[in-house]
Every structure is written in structure tokens, then in C-alpha cells.
């Protein structure tokens, strides 16, 4: 199954410029997914670079690469959830993520994502990101949950520092 951008917008609550997945080339819901993210020099992450910086400073931010992979994992998971379970997907944990090579404007990233397990409403995914034949990142474990907006904006005066 292939998902174009309109389908991703319908699945994910993220919007420009934080919707960091362009297309899903292939997905087996609940099992695996190959997602595509094309990096462009037009993205706002390049707007603040001072003139005259060397080429290596245009490496795509690791934070956005991890988020893009995570959105692929979210799509894979959300496709296998039953309809009507509203909320925002939240990235809650990661373990052993390796950034192996820089990605630059013009590169097309392919995320190969596997859904490892879903336990008590939390999804665990793993996989890798590629530019052509080169692996640019590895993800041993990424965990996400879906939280209702009301639960995210819960009252704070009852909270205590968990030290």
C-alpha cells in the first residue's frame, strides 16, 4: 500500500513545516513501512544560517531527522489502530539512536520502519534511514503514545517535582 501526502496529512496532526514525511512508498499496517522525506534548502531550518558558512553547516538537523523517522513510525502505528481513537502522538522515549552520516539539501531520505510491539497503548518501533545506498541513521527503539489534548493540558498545581 502506498500513501501520498494528502493521506499523511489526514493521519498525522503535524503541519507545515513540522510535517516531515512526504510520502509512504510501501506499508504493511502494524508491521513495516518505507517512508520518504525529501530535504530541501527551502525548509525553514536553513533560514537562520549566516552568510559564508561552510558546506558542512548545511547538514540536516539531527532533531528533524529523528522526528521524520518518528512520524513514519507514527503512521505505521496509527494505520493499525482502530478508528475513533483521537489524540496527539507523543514521542516519549528513545534508546540507541545512531546518527551515522550527514544529510544535505537535495538528499531524499528513506525511512525503513518496523513496528516492534504495542503494549498498553505505547508503540515501539525500530529501523534505519537511508540516502540512496548509504545508511544515515539507525534506530534501535523509539517509543510513542497517543495522548488526548485534555491529558496534555492537565492542571499543574497538583504536580510535584519527582525528585
Amino acid at each position: 500500500m502506498r500513501l501520498e501526502h494528502a493521506a499523511l496529512r489526514a493521519l498525522l496532526p503535524h503541519r507545515y513545516p513540522m510535517l516531515l514525511l512526504d510520502r509512504v512508498e510501501d506499508v504493511t499496517p502494524g508491521e513495516s513501512l518505507t517512508g520518504v522525506k525529501a530535504v530541501s534548502g527551502c525548509e525553514p531550518c536553513y533560514r537562520g544560517i549566516a552568510e559564508g558558512q561552510p558546506a558542512d553547516r548545511y547538514a540536516y538537523p539531527a532533531s528533524l531527522l529523528i522526528e521524520s523517522f518518528g512520524q513514519g513510525a507514527a503512521v505505521l502505528w496509527l494505520l493499525s489502530r482502530r478508528a475513533g481513537t483521537a489524540g496527539l502522538p507523543m514521542f516519549t522515549a528513545a534508546r540507541d539512536v545512531a546518527l551515522l552520516r550527514p544529510v544535505h539539501p537535495g538528499d531524499v531520505i528513506r525511512h525503513r520502519v518496523r513496528l516492534e510491539q504495542v503494549v498498553d497503548g505505547a508503540a515501539f518501533a525500530s529501523g534505519s534511514s537511508w540516502v540512496g545506498e548509504r545508511r544515515v541513521a539507525e534506530f534501535d527503539s523509539m517509543m510513542a503514545v497517543v495522548r488526548a489534548v485534555d491529558a496534555i493540558v492537565e492542571p499543574r498545581d497538583e504536580r510535584e517535582e519527582p525528585r
Binding site: 496532526p13 503535524h14 503541519r15 507545515y16 513545516p17 513540522m18 510535517l19 525553514p44 531550518c45 536553513y46 537562520g48 544560517i49 549566516a50 558558512q53 561552510p54 558542512d56 553547516r57 548545511y58 547538514a59 540536516y60 538537523p61 539531527a62 532533531s63 528533524l64 529523528i66 522526528e67 518518528g70 496527539l88 507523543m90 514521542f91 516519549t92 522515549a93 528513545a94 534508546r95 540507541d96 539512536v97 545512531a98 546518527l99 551515522l100 552520516r101 550527514p102 548509504r134 489534548v149 496534555i152 493540558v153 499543574r156 504536580r159 510535584e160 517535582e161 519527582p162 525528585r163
Partner: protein
């Protein structure tokens, strides 16, 4: 242990750090650096979640939530400002050993990062252990990561 590796050389403001490399947002407003054990350093850094930031308007339109990956971005910019460049290059996030995001950061929330950094290993890498706290004292994240300065002329495998 004496290593033939670069020493930490804090010499940058957060604004300079933001302007020197691609970044989704200026993720640090202030940084304080102090000497740590064994040649390492400790840092404190902070920012405030700005709902008008261009990336945050898309995360999410219905509710501004500072993404977990932006906490990593705050840490990266704080580390870069705190340790300086080596051979003209800023440090990069090489390995995220673990990250746990424990509580949300919403519009107007302040984030304070407290981290121990280093010492520097022979391969120009260094460990960073950070705890992140919201303005009301709630811990929002813990992160263990390895940063490194890339060697000159690219160790990127190209």
C-alpha cells in the same frame, strides 16, 4: 588520563550558535558553563517555548507542544555554545543512548537543561548526561548522548 584531544573552549553565544548551522529554531536563550570533574564541564541552559515560532505553529496547530526532538535541539545548541568548535567544526549529536520525555512543554513554559559534559575521549567524542526541568519544577526529560567533533575533511563516509 591525559588525552591528545581538544579541550572545551566555550566561546559562543546562543545566537552565534544558531546562526552557524542549520537548526529548526533558536533553541537556547542563555547558557552558563562551569568546570566539571576530570576535565569535563557542567552546563545550565534555558529557553522559553514561543508559540509563534514557525516550526511550533505546525506542532500542533490546535495546541503548541515543544517536541521531544526540540529538547534534543536545545541540548545540542547548549552543548555547542558550551564546548566550542574544534578545527572549525561544531560538535554533532552522534549517538542518542537514551532519552525519556516525561512531561509536556507548552506555550510559554520555560525549559532548563542541566548537563554534565565530557571529558573528551581520544576520538573527539564526549558523553553528555542531561536532565531537563520545566518552570514549575517538573522534570520533562532525561537524556544520555554522545557528541563528537567530526574530523576534518569529513568522516561522513562520502
Amino acid at each position: 588520563m591525559t588525552v591528545a584531544a581538544p579541550a572545551f573552549a566555550p566561546d559562543r553565544t546562543p545566537a552565534q550558535t544558531y546562526a552557524e548551522a542549520a537548526a529548526p529554531l533558536p533553541a537556547v536563550a542563555w547558557v552558563e558553563v562551569a568546570a566539571g570533574p576530570r576535565g569535563g564541564i557542567t552546563l545550565r541552559a534555558g529557553t522559553t517555548v514561543d508559540p509563534d515560532d514557525v516550526y511550533l505553529t505546525g506542532h500542533f496547530p490546535e495546541l503548541t507542544v515543544y517536541p521531544g526532538v526540540f529538547t534534543l535541539e536545545t541540548l545540542r545548541q547548549a552543548v555547542t555554545a558550551a564546548v566550542g568548535h574544534c578545527a572549525g567544526r561544531p560538535p554533532e549529536l552522534h549517538r542518542l543512548r537514551s532519552a525519556r520525555f516525561l512531561a509536556p512543554l507548552l506555550a510559554g513554559d520555560t525549559l532548563t537543561v542541566e548537563a554534565s559534559v565530557g571529558p573528551v575521549a581520544q576520538d573527539q567524542s564526549f558523553e553528555v548526561t542531561a536532565r531537563c526541568v520545566r518552570g514549575d519544577g517538573v522534570r520533562t526529560a532525561t537524556v544520555r548522548a554522545v557528541f563528537r567533533w567530526p574530523v576534518e575533511d569529513g568522516d561522513d563516509g562520502r
